[in-house]
Symmetry: C2
């Protein structure tokens, strides 16, 4: 949920919105994310398998951001009744289009359900005269090793991410692997001060983590941002620099971690996620007591940067 809405909803009585990626109720983690046609996917251009996968994966990424274990899923789907455009090979004359679509959406979730041993425990399937909307609720368990929160950043912490950034619109947005196992490993074996997933863009999400941690700031190292090859590809189309894409593109769904400096050195040297998960940790900057965000250029000069990313 975006900052403005969180602020508004927090102003209402009877709310408990801590600004983390999932709510904590007792030993349960709960997250709800909704995908809408035209914003999160283009139905005519995207396999419904990938749409279903993404609808679940974005929620799993929220559980990963809390260092937790996903367990149960609930789906609410609004299926378009009319004027449905599906890939040609999915259409047969004796089937009802919304049914094919819904089955493909569930089939797209299945590999992640299997991989993490999830249980589909309920939901609501509707047909209406509108576009495709999928809302998924995931219920997880708090890890016995604790909860990752956004609010724990401390000055001099190193900022670490779990993968390359930018250009996810070229495909990564549908194919990303939620960092469940990686987060559980770090939760068990390391001292992470704060975490979230990068869903709306590195600088925008980092600014949210800094706000939750009490007006801290950050310096990002320009030469150490892991610019993805998709960010480079996309920059050829947009005319913006690959770095800009890495700093502000949404839907990377990598973990953004704030780690105690000595522990960070150990993690970055040992790269403990490589052997089992093939995931490399990248140091991209540090937390500062001074508020605001800065980019440290190759020549060591500092340039002030504003949060940029996808606002809902």
């Amino acid at each position: 949920m975006e900052a403005g809405w969180i602020k508004y909803l927090r102003s209402l009585p009877n709310t408990e919105l801590l600004g983390d990626d999932a709510a904590v109720i007792g030993s349960s983690l709960i997250t709800v994310d909704m995908l809408t046609e035209g914003v999160d996917f283009i139905l005519a251009e995207t396999s419904p398998l990938l749409i279903g996968r993404k609808a679940l994966a974005v929620n799993l990424s929220d559980i990963a951001a809390m260092g937790g274990i996903p367990r149960w899923i609930f789906t609410a789907v609004a299926l378009p009744a009319g004027s449905l455009v599906l890939p040609q090979d999915m259409i047969t004359p004796d089937t009802f289009a919304p049914d094919i679509l819904a089955k493909a959406i569930f089939a797209g979730m299945q590999p992640l359900i299997d991989k993490y041993g999830l249980i589909l425990a309920g939901g609501d399937t509707n047909t209406w005269d509108g576009g495709l909307v999928i809302s998924v609720t995931v219920i997880g368990e708090v890890s016995p090793f604790g909860i990752f929160r956004r609010s724990g950043c401390q000055p001099r912490d190193k900022i670490i991410v779990t993968g390359q950034l930018g250009g996810s619109i070229l495909g990564h947005q549908f194919l990303f692997e939620p960092r469940i196992s990686e987060a559980l490993y770090l939760n068990r074996h390391s001292a992470v001060h704060a975490a979230m997933d990068i869903s709306d863009g590195l600088t925008l999400d980092l600014s949210r983590m800094l706000t939750e941690s009490g007006r801290l700031g950050a310096t990002l190292y320009e030469t150490q941002i892991p610019v993805s090859s998709d960010a480079v590809k996309l920059s050829l189309q947009t005319g913006r620099s690959p770095l800009e894409h890495s700093l502000s593109d949404g839907e990377d769904f990598e973990l953004l971690l704030s780690v105690e400096p000595n522990e960070a050195v150990r993690l970055l040297t040992q790269q403990p996620l490589m052997p089992q998960y093939g995931v490399r940790l990248y140091e991209i900057g540090e937390i500062t007591a001074e508020s605001g965000m800065r980019l440290r250029r190759a020549d060591a000069s500092l340039q002030s940067i504003e949060p940029k990313g996808f606002e809902h």
Copy 2:
């Protein structure tokens, strides 16, 4: 979720769909319901306060159907960005229409949030180029006195409902009171064998309860169906009989209870929900070992009836 989908989803691996109104995970109850524009409400004709209220109330009714205690709510909303038709007095030049709409939706939920001491703990608010969609997740607690399920009907049980039925489209669909307190009272003080809420129509929902209870049947007493005044009013417009409306109209959101016969006599005589809640219990029929549903006419003749109601 409708029967066909439950059957399909049950056929997938890793599902636990028990066919009740809410899922049971440990001592938690979880329910997810989605409302879509044009199906569950007409945005141009309905105050968004009432739409918000309904989106929450239908979920609370599911918790009531399980005899449980609602605690936390999560909302996922897709707000129409363009061509929004709102009542004239809600539009001011300096406000952004989706924001007004969203605030009104939350304001509509507030009285129920206050009444039941709920906590808004998270959600997802989106703007898109489509109609209004609201998905609400409610998490509740299992009552220490147990769980109402659909599967407990026994032959000779009396079938009892908590209010008059039919014609809810004339207004009750937005104004109904979820039977939370009544269900908790019955759960604590009475022996209810099975329960659900009437969301899709009496005979359709009853047939589902009978199926979950293992192919039992039911006889409904024509002269004892509590026909609402709205069912009578609606029949003047539709040409269908008031009884037909009571038997098949959706969205009554009354409890449908299967109660041990002696206990049923006690409840119907003592009417324990009247003093505190103003709610009268109506005996409308009985469970039979013979499958199928029958209507017992005034002259004691039996007429076979088919499940009728709203299929999603």
